[in-house]
């Protein structure tokens, strides 16, 4: 475990989005051996408490073996592994119910859970997220109140130091964390996160709120919301931002973990490079219109009808790193630029204030003037009152001194 954490730390400090996609045969042979050993070991374990069978589930949803293998080879490519790893990836997918997952939800809109649950017809990514050994998830579990608490305690005890902790939502830190409490005992979200994070094998922050604070942390950030990485230290942490996070990337991270026992290679914002090493702009179907200088000037104009570039209506593809221009959403159905509304940079820090204003940055008012009306008035008032108080104090003191002298003169 210690050397794993060391390895993770080393990865965390690597800065560029660059991924070495060809590390040579020797590296991949060694990796293949270690992955194979790990998979064989996992096969001998029985999934506890999980009564779902992946083969049955896939069959029920009408996914045949051939489709499954096609999917496995696509995931192999996404994880930047050679094609020879495809059978291992398929095995890892079948073993996903060996990875106990605790999913907690903090300050957010449950959009990541929703994105997973409400796909039109569950495809392989969503099915796999169904069969991970999900030990706890407030949104979809039947239990509530003390029962839910007990279930969480039970899961944390049974899978101590083994479970993957998925966190959805920002951590409100203002007013001593009292902006958000959870459960029958009114635990603050911060304490809740720290308690569950303590014995997690690794933490996966899902969605922009859990990674960078997202919408709750947008200016003026009344609840003092921050991302998980700002408060949880000393644990392997993977950020999967985007609003909502793409289920394909969640599956990619879990499969990578099952396959190698490691977190994938991460960039400086702790995002897996296999997913966030791409700039949206460079794989955008409208890129030719950008280079040509053909822009949608306003919604619904002639340019919009001709699928022109959305840069002038605020598309942030040129400065956003994510793979949605490649893998898209809902198993490749479509993505924001595809439906003609531009990227809002949802996988970047501070996206609500700095990216999502639907006009080019050059035209944007990044935050409210003076940082908010009441806040400015309060601070100005307090400052003025302080200055007046000091003035009165000086005057009063001077008057007392002068008065004494006068008294002295009379006496």
């Amino acid at each position: 475990m210690a050397d794993r954490i060391e390895g993770v730390k080393k990865l965390f400090t690597s800065k560029s989005a660059r991924v070495e996609t060809n590390r040579g045969d020797a590296h991949y042979e060694k990796l293949f051996q270690s992955c194979q050993t790990r998979i064989e070991e996992l096969k001998t374990q029985t999934p506890s408490k999980n009564r779902l069978d992946i083969d049955d589930l896939l069959e029920d949803q009408g996914v045949n073996r051939r489709d499954f293998m096609k999917w496995a080879s696509a995931v192999t490519g996404m994880l930047m592994l050679p094609a020879s790893f495809t059978p291992l990836v398929a095995d890892a997918a079948l073993l996903m119910n060996r990875a106990p997952v605790i999913w907690i939800e903090l300050s957010d809109c449950a959009g990541n859970t929703e994105a997973m649950l409400r796909s039109d017809g569950p495809k392989i990514d969503e099915i796999l997220l169904d069969i991970i050994s999900l030990e706890f998830n407030e949104t979809i579990m039947a239990a509530s109140g003390h029962q839910a608490e007990a279930q969480l305690e039970d899961a944390m005890h049974t899978f101590k130091d083994k479970y993957l902790l998925f966190v959805e939502g920002a951590v409100p830190m203002g007013m001593n964390g009292q902006f958000g409490t959870i459960g029958a005992e009114g635990e603050t979200m911060h304490d809740h996160l720290q308690r569950v994070a303590k014995h997690a094998a690794a933490i996966v922050a899902v969605g922009s709120c859990a990674t960078f604070g997202g919408v709750p942390a947008a200016s003026p950030n009344p609840t003092g919301a921050v991302g998980v990485m700002d408060v949880v230290k000393g644990k392997p942490l993977i950020n999967i931002p985007a609003c909502p996070a793409n289920p394909a990337n969640m599956v990619g991270v879990i499969i990578h973990y099952i396959l190698t026992g490691q977190v994938p290679e991460l960039d400086s914002l702790l995002r897996p490079k296999f997913a966030f090493g791409y700039r949206i702009h460079d794989n955008c179907e409208r890129r030719a219109h950008f280079d040509a200088g053909e822009f949608v000037e306003e919604w619904g104009d002639e340019g919009a009808k001709n699928n022109f570039c959305l840069y002038k209506v605020g598309c942030k593809g040129p400065m956003t790193f994510n793979n949605c221009s490649i893998v898209r959403y809902n198993e490749g159905v479509n993505w924001p630029v595809g439906v003609g509304r531009g990227c809002i940079g949802c996988s970047e820090p501070d996206f609500w204030d700095k990216y999502a204003y639907e006009r080019p940055m050059a035209d944007a008012h990044i935050k409210a003037p003076t940082g908010g009306v009441e806040k400015t008035v309060d601070e100005f008032g307090l400052g003025l009152l302080t200055a007046a108080g000091i003035g009165i104090g000086i005057h009063a003191a001077a008057s007392i001194v002068a008065g004494k002298k006068e008294d002295g003169g009379e006496a």
Partner: protein, 244 residues
């Protein structure tokens, strides 16, 4: 030449050449940079995209002049210390003489030439500091610009080798947190958008700098009557015999 005047050399041929290359590059960088920030003219909609390359040409010009700037900046940085004509660093050091000259030139400006107690035959501390501000802003544009540029090289590959994006990350990644601080962001996590905002804002400071620079050189020419505006063309100006 007017009687009683003497010609003094103020700029070498290289300095003048550099001045005009930088001046025209700056105009080109601002025109194309504003287009990249917000495309302010439209292309003919009837032309198919394949025959137009408007944004791409703007970006091409912007990056080309940026590279000219970058290389020119390296030469200028060298000249600050090793020029065989005048070494500007000598006028920047905060010595008593330099501070006095700086204050005197500033007083000369604010008193509209009523007070002139310094030697105007050679470059002065005030103008040298003013140019230093420009060079620092240009250096910041260089670093933030290259940081924005490397976002497009996220594959880690480039036509001149993998060392180039690697070096750009090594040399310019620190501009992300510094930009975050410069724009006064409240966020705990710096974003690459901060670099873009800072790059854009610094452009306006440079525009303001250019306005003052041109104004001040014309003002000197009119008030000092020494032909300062001609320096950047001929490399020389004229001063009264008794001064030089």
């Amino acid at each position: 030449m007017k009687a009683g005047h003497k010609q003094v050399k103020r700029m070498t041929a290289y300095m003048r050449l550099n001045h005009w290359v930088v001046a025209f590059s700056m105009v080109a960088a601002i025109i194309t940079g504003l287009y990249i920030g917000h495309p302010y003219y439209q292309t003919f909609i009837a032309d198919p995209a394949v025959t137009k390359y408007v944004m791409a040409w703007n970006r091409w010009v912007h990056f080309m002049v940026a590279i000219i700037f970058d290389v020119s900046s390296i030469v200028i940085a060298y000249m600050y210390f090793f020029s065989r004509f005048e070494q500007p660093y000598k006028k920047i050091l905060p010595t008593g003489k330099n501070i006095k000259e700086f204050v005197e030139v500033l007083l000369n400006l604010v008193t509209l030439n009523r007070r002139k107690k310094f030697d105007s035959t050679h470059t002065d501390s005030f103008n040298t500091i003013f140019f230093l501000v420009f060079h620092l802003m240009l250096g910041w544009m260089l670093l933030t610009g290259l940081q924005l540029y490397v976002h497009g090289l996220e594959s880690g590959l480039s036509s001149i080798g993998n060392w180039w994006p690697w070096m750009l990350h090594l040399v310019t990644d620190w501009t992300i947190p510094v930009s975050n601080w410069l724009i006064g962001s409240a966020s705990s996590t710096a974003s690459i958008m901060d670099v873009r905002i800072s790059h854009h804002l610094t452009m306006w400071w440079i525009v303001a700098w250019i306005v003052f620079h041109i104004y001040y050189q014309v003002w000197r020419t009119i008030f000092w009557k020494e032909g300062d505006i001609g320096i950047v063309v001929s490399g020389t100006k004229f001063v009264k015999e008794d001064k030089a």
